[in-house]
Subunit: 259 residues, 2 copies
């Protein structure tokens, strides 16, 4: 099987023109077939503010009422996605912007209210359809996926970008040998958040509980790593968590997760 | 060559939930391979108003400053396009939303200021790249194109939806026997706008100048028909201008333009 890298880049990068431009320079040089997943939450929050729509967040996730769904659909699927696609085309990469509704790549179910929270139009992925997508990637097309899915009943749904990345990585592992990279603003998982030199270079499933018990893996990183190990258990060869600048390195440095 | 129908539907339909739903019901039943091009100008104007961005129109066309470009990119490429794609998926049609930047299908040049009007980020199509698109259509994928192009330098551009439809129809006529249908709120070209029974059923190139001289083809219809005949001269087999409801007819009734 050919190799494919699924790279997820967070909102802080895609919403800063200079940072985005630098990232995309590195992205196009990154060797081999690749698929990009982007966030955009800060832009959605700002756009919501301008429109007088309040962003309600619970545990860092957006409660998505009908008005917020319209905002994320246009900001993620339109503004952020097309800006990235146009900039990749300018760099000679034949990009294709997608949401989960396009080519039906990500079918989701509207999340039922839980623990007293009605999440609104938030989608949990039920199924990926990757045959046509894999075929396009094999032809050298580089997909750019926005953090949106659909419910099969005509509604778009808001879905976390980390989840989109892991679900696509899993779905595409039927067709490719997939590596999943999460780029963010830190070097990876740090043993000591105050020590720049405390990068943990590798985490195996058995390391997870002890690291969590010691409080090294905490907060939002717990869900992120659970997501990563779930992907590894479902066909993804390797997951790396690294700084956005690491893509430019010959051997990107970060925290590698393996079976 | 297989037959392909390129259907353009205007903003008045796509921006009214009930009208859109009825149209999409007809669209999925319309036989054969097809590609949809949509407008969305009224939604963009409304969204601009909510954001305090004034829409400046000259001869019915939007002067697109940087702020307006952001609005049309998110409204056309995100909100309107993804709503249609999700609703087509719900009807069992495997839709793929596209702008001109996606798969580089429509390369455009920023329109230079003309007659004292700086159009801003408005794009005139320079080149269509339809090989991959034609391949997808041949696999049963139904593309949904937003009225946006890109300049190859990383910028999205605002391009009239009628033009998008005719350019894609021309580009795809290398791969398919293409029919182009413009759906709008009238039955077609009317000899007398006040007489519902005055539909002109066929217009040939030689009829154009006389009809124009008599004032029957006037206003925005002049540019529309010029667009149509240009498409016919460049490979499109037939153009029809008809009411949006005509798609449901076994033999859609409207004004047919032929060589």
């Amino acid at each position: 099987m050919k190799a494919l890298t699924v790279i997820k880049v967070g909102g802080a990068v895609v919403e800063d023109n200079e940072a985005l431009s630098a990232f995309l320079d590195d992205y196009v040089k990154y060797p081999g077939l690749k698929l990009l997943v982007h966030g955009g939450g800060r832009s959605a929050t700002r756009m919501g503010e301008k429109l007088g729509i309040e962003s309600r967040m619970v545990k860092g996730r957006r409660v998505t009422d009908a008005e917020s769904l319209a905002v994320v659909t246009m900001v993620y699927g339109g503004l952020v996605n097309k800006n990235i696609v146009a900039q990749l085309q300018a760099r000679g990469l034949n990009a294709l912007g997608l949401t989960g509704a396009d080519l039906n790549i990500l079918e989701a179910g509207k999340r039922p209210p839980k623990d007293g929270i009605d999440w609104g139009w938030v989608g949990d992925v039920k199924k990926t359809n990757t045959n046509i997508l894999a075929n396009l990637i094999g032809q050298g097309i580089s997909p750019v996926a926005a953090p949106l899915t659909h419910d099969g009943n005509g509604n778009m749904l808001n879905t976390n970008a980390d989840t989109i990345a892991s679900e696509l990585a899993v779905g595409l592992s039927k067709h490719f040998s997939v590596k999943l990279i999460y780029c963010f603003e830190k070097k990876g998982v740090m043993a000591d958040p105050d020590d720049e030199n405390s990068l943990i270079r590798e985490i195996r499933p058995n390391d997870f509980d002890p690291l969590r018990a010691r409080g090294i893996i905490a907060g939002g990183m717990i869900a992120k790593l659970e997501n990563c190990f779930a992907a590894i258990g479902r066909g993804v060869g390797e997951v790396m968590i690294c700084h956005v600048g690491a893509l430019a390195q010959a051997k990107p440095e970060g925290t590698v997760l393996r079976k």
